[in-house]
Amino acid sequence: MAEITYLEALRQGLEEELERDDRVFILGEDVGEYGGAFKVTDGFHERFGPDRIIDTPISEAAIVGAAAGAAHMGFRPVAEMQFIDFISCAYDILTNYVATARYRAGLSTPLVVRGPAGGYVRGGPFHSQMPEAAFFHTPGLKLVCPATARDAKGLIKAAIRDDDPVIYFEHKYLYRRIKEDLNGADDVTPIGKARVAREGNDLTIVSWSAVFWKALEAAGELEDEDGAGIEVLDLRTLVPMDDQAIVSSVKKTNRLLIVHEDTRTGGVAGEITARVNEQAFEWLDAPIRRVTAHDTPLPYAPTLEDYVLPQTADIVTAARWLLAY
């Protein structure tokens, strides 16, 4: 079997689910004949026809709302946001209608909203967002954010098969930059389980999505240069969060660094800090620290973007600070 990219893995996952389950359909802007702005649905239109691969008007609220209606009726729609930044236009309907449907009315709403997220691609403030925190805060939604090609496939499958609404943040920086041989497996990555990507005893780094790779790189550097054993967790799912994996790692290493791409204030790292503090306070030998983006919109010039977003060197610096604490 050959290595496939993160994007191809996602594409395969979608394709296999469309194949497997005729309740699955895709809707979004330019997803049909054109195959999507990033070609994630390339060829689907020919293969599955215009009834299952639906080009929509530029109406994110209607895309999500219509997906919800169809989901109530037993379908399993996958709604593409051309860039995940535009999910903000569906914020009302996602947080108020979709997220609450089961709780308030016993309605089943198995849908997936997915789209290219994240920076490091010189996309400027409106094509680089990682808008995880706003939805992270909304009970009723699940959030997944694959970092590997295997999980790109495994989590889209899990998301589609899940009986609840799932937001799937695919990182566009990773689309064609990482590859993996999946051996053609039909593996589903369970939602809610973190992965210990690297073991170590001196410090835990919790991360997800694109910056996970930077954390891993930093861990390698720290091992090589400092002889430090860094345990790196790929969270994979933000909601539900795998508290147990984080806490048991922290109980082993006694030090925690959280790395996320999103801005700092109100970011997911705050919640992780609170949970670890609640569940493993006595095991902490140093303050929990975080490496995040600065609290600004994401600027466009490479030098500026690189400054605002967390880099491998930042993780190394922060980790050294914690190791020396």
């Binding site: 109406s59 309907i93 009315a105």
Partner: protein, 349 residues
């Protein structure tokens, strides 16, 4: 056919309806109005939790439009479409329990008033955010189309709600996808205190449909059978693959936005004028004048409604309030994901 007292010649019943169905329509009109009156009583006794929203004067439009649907069709009511839900099979006792936030209400005390659903019977629960139900109903209608089922969706929108972005996106989506959806714009003169003239620069809300290439018409919302017939046409067209229709039902909100609203902005003259066009009274007159019902028929139905509501109120009142901890669960399909009570609730105070 029994002859109405005041009628001289029996008139042909319109729209393929039978006399029995005409009386059934009256039953729903009366049930809607009377149920709301019971709710007013309960509200005054502080037995209703939160606000009470009346549809006085609009019952004709709710009942007439919902009556044009078949079993299997799904509608999405708004706060003033109690009548539509009753037509679709919602039970008065459920409505009463909802308003009183009882444990055995359809949402077990989680949601308010008529925010509840039964998709088997054919009504979807609304959320408060106006406009949002339009795209959702477009999706439900899309699912009918995708499965080639001969089913139709119907969504209500207030004059005020036509100003929302969600209305626009949902309308346009439905039009482009040509889904079987009927949109009833309830032009009742006000959105809370805001008159239509401050809501939009068009006089006829049917004009809204033109922007979407959707056939649109205006109907007298206080004429039950006209609403029925117009909706029936639209429903038939939708069922036959003709896509959406927008119907502007012209009516009037004779009560305030909610019971607590003083209605200071509505002139007594205006209210009185519309009182004279009351849809229920007009319908009773029509039934009798056309020889489709006798005063006895009407009295009989009134008695039946009163009786049913006596029972429903008694049943609803005796139900218990939900236990606090039942607030948890049901956020996700898998209850283990929800999380149980927070830590401080599991400590001994």
């Amino acid at each position: 056919m029994k002859m109405g007292a005041g009628a001289t010649v029996p008139v042909q019943i319109p729209g393929g309806l039978t006399e029995g169905r005409l009386l059934e329509i009256y039953y729903y009109l009366q049930l809607t109005r009377s149920l709301e009156e019971r709710l007013v009583n309960l509200y005054r006794q502080s037995k209703v939790i939160g606000g009470l929203y009346r549809s006085l004067g609009q019952e004709g439009e709710s009942v007439g439009s919902a009556y044009a649907l078949e079993f299997g069709d799904i509608l999405s009511p708004l706060i003033r479409n109690l009548g539509s839900m009753l037509v679709k099979g919602a039970k008065p006792v459920e409505v009463l329990r909802q308003y009183m936030a009882k444990a055995n209400s359809p949402t077990a005390g989680r949601e308010m008033n008529i925010h509840f659903n039964d998709l088997d019977l054919g009504y979807l629960g609304q959320i408060s955010h106006l406009g949002d139900m339009v795209p959702v109903m477009a999706g439900i209608a899309l699912s009918f189309k995708m499965r080639s089922e001969p089913r139709v969706g119907l969504v209500y929108v207030g004059d005020g709600a036509t100003s929302t972005g969600a209305f626009h996106e949902g309308m346009n989506f439905a039009a482009v996808q040509k889904v079987p959806l009927v949109i009833i714009v309830e032009h009742n003169g006000y959105a809370y205190s805001t008159p239509t003239s401050k809501q939009t620069a068009v006089a006829r809300l049917a004009d809204k449909g033109r922007a979407y290439g959707v056939p649109s018409e205006t109907v007298d919302g206080n004429h039950v059978l006209a609403v029925y017939a117009t909706t029936k046409n639209a429903v038939d067209r939708a069922r036959n693959g003709g896509g959406p229709t927008l119907i502007e039902a012209v009516t009037y909100r004779r009560k305030g936005h909610a019971e607590h609203d003083s209605q200071s902005y509505q002139s007594p003259d205006e209210i009185r004028e519309w009182e004279s066009r009351d849809p229920v009274e007009r319908y009773v007159d029509l039934l009798q004048m056309s020889g489709w019902a006798t005063p006895a028929d009407i009295t009989e139905i009134d008695a039946r409604v009163a009786n049913e509501l006596d029972q429903a109120v008694a049943e609803a009142e005796e139900a218990s309030t939900p236990a606090g901890a039942t607030a948890l669960g049901g956020v996700y399909a898998d209850r283990t994901v929800d999380g149980g009570p927070l830590w401080f609730r599991s400590l001994d105070g």
